[in-house]
Each structure stands twice: as structure tokens, then as C-alpha cells.
Symmetry: C2
Subunit: 135 residues, 2 copies
């Protein structure tokens, strides 16, 4: 199967698939004419990788997950600990983003948003004290 069909089948752009080969994540065989030739197993792996990426796993984590996926002897605990770690990473990121948003909301709420130059948002950015709470 050529890379176009592999792209179609996995939902990943050709560029991404070539990149995954560059970094040794999934290296297909080559046809006589030099074209990449993907098996249906390869497509499954690519699809697997796409899903894992969408769930927020980094490339290196995906490499790890893929080798676990292909290793029929692996223990489920190895995979679960990766997943739990990722969940806690995401929770941390969620907290950070929520804190940012709340801060911005506090500043925006104080701002008239009219033609006058007084702007509590800029003042907040210029003055740490205003950023602290402003509740």
C-alpha cells in the first residue's frame, strides 16, 4: 500500500507518516520502485499512534506504548502506569490553565472596555498587586 492509501487508512497526513519513519517510529518496507509499502498491520499501528497522540501522549510515550502494544507478553500494569501518569500531567495542566483564565477574567471584569484609556488589564499586568487577587 502506498503512502497515500496509508494516509487515507490511518487518518494521518503523509507528512506525518514520513516523519514517523524518520524518527524510527514506524519504518515500512520499500517496494522495488523505492515507494514506501505499508501492510495492514502498519496501518493499524499508524491508527494506534494517531489515537495515542490525540490523547496527549508525546512521541516518546507513543514509541513506548507502541512497543507495549506489539509485545504480547507485556503486563497491563506497565501501560496503566503510563496512563495514570498522563492523567496527572493533564490535571496539572488543567489547573494551570484554569488559574490563567480566572486571572484574566478578574482583570477583564474590572475593565470598562470603552473608548477611555484607563485599563485595569494593563494596570494589572504592570502591577503585581493587582494580579494577586482582585476579587
Amino acid at each position: 500500500m502506498n503512502i497515500g492509501a496509508a494516509s487515507e487508512g490511518s487518518g494521518l497526513p503523509s507528512k506525518t507518516i514520513r516523519y514517523y519513519e524518520d524518527i524510527g517510529l514506524l519504518v515500512p518496507r520499500r517496494a522495488e520502485n523505492g515507494y514506501r509499502d505499508y501492510t495492514t498491520d502498519d496501518i493499524h499501528c499508524l491508527t494506534f499512534l494517531g489515537r495515542a497522540r490525540k490523547l496527549g501522549f508525546s512521541i516518546e510515550e507513543c514509541r513506548n506504548l507502541l512497543s507495549l502494544y506489539l509485545d504480547k507478553q507485556r503486563s497491563s500494569s506497565e501501560v496503566k502506569s503510563l496512563a495514570l501518569q498522563k492523567i496527572s500531567d493533564i490535571n496539572e495542566r488543567l489547573q494551570e490553565l484554569t488559574a490563567m483564565r480566572d486571572m484574566l477574567q478578574n482583570l477583564a471584569r474590572e475593565c470598562h472596555g470603552d473608548a477611555r484609556p484607563e485599563c485595569p488589564i494593563l494596570e494589572g499586568l504592570a502591577n503585581a498587586a493587582l494580579l494577586k487577587e482582585s476579587r
Copy 2:
């Protein structure tokens, strides 16, 4: 004031401050010996930039905010609309992250996490149907 003191005063690494000069965000005057020379106003700007970055504004948005900050004629509505846009960006990202986390939690909950090879997490990544709901 040398870059070291500017770093101290603004809380930004020297490398970052030089980078901001490279991209024309804040260009200080130079002393006779070629060293960068920061004024206290420059330090305020750097501090302002650092805060805006922490709140999730991109460099280009910061460039915009800084010029608004320095323009005493600006209207507060310009700033507010930037802030509101950023808030809605963050909310979108929050939703994505929450969806990822919930998916992972669904998968992890089904996984024994023991020495056996059966792993619903990997199966979920391999099989779209399992990713859908699995509630």
C-alpha cells in the same frame, strides 16, 4: 543597567531578554563597551511582558499588548477584546484537555493493572469503538 541586573529586576532569564531584543520586542540602548543598558522603564516593560506571557499571551499578542501599554491614548476596549479572546482560547483548550483526561480515565478504570497482558487501554487505542464511550 547591565543585562544581569535587568534579569534580576524583571525575573526573566538573560537569554530570554536577549531573545526579546532579537525579535524586536524590547531593544535597549548600548553602553560604550557594547553592553546592553537597560533603563528602569525597560525593566517595567520586561516585567510586564513576563506577566503577560505567564497569562498565556503569545509573543505577538505581547507585542500588541506592550504597544497598547505604552500608548497612553489607547482605548480600554482594545485591550479587553484581546483578553476576552484569550479567555475563550483557554476555555477551548480546557475542554480538549478535559475530554482527553476523561477518555484516559475511562480506559484506565477498566484496566486491572496487573501482570497479565490483557490491557483495555491498548485495546482502546487499537479499537475506535472502545474509545467512544466505554461508560
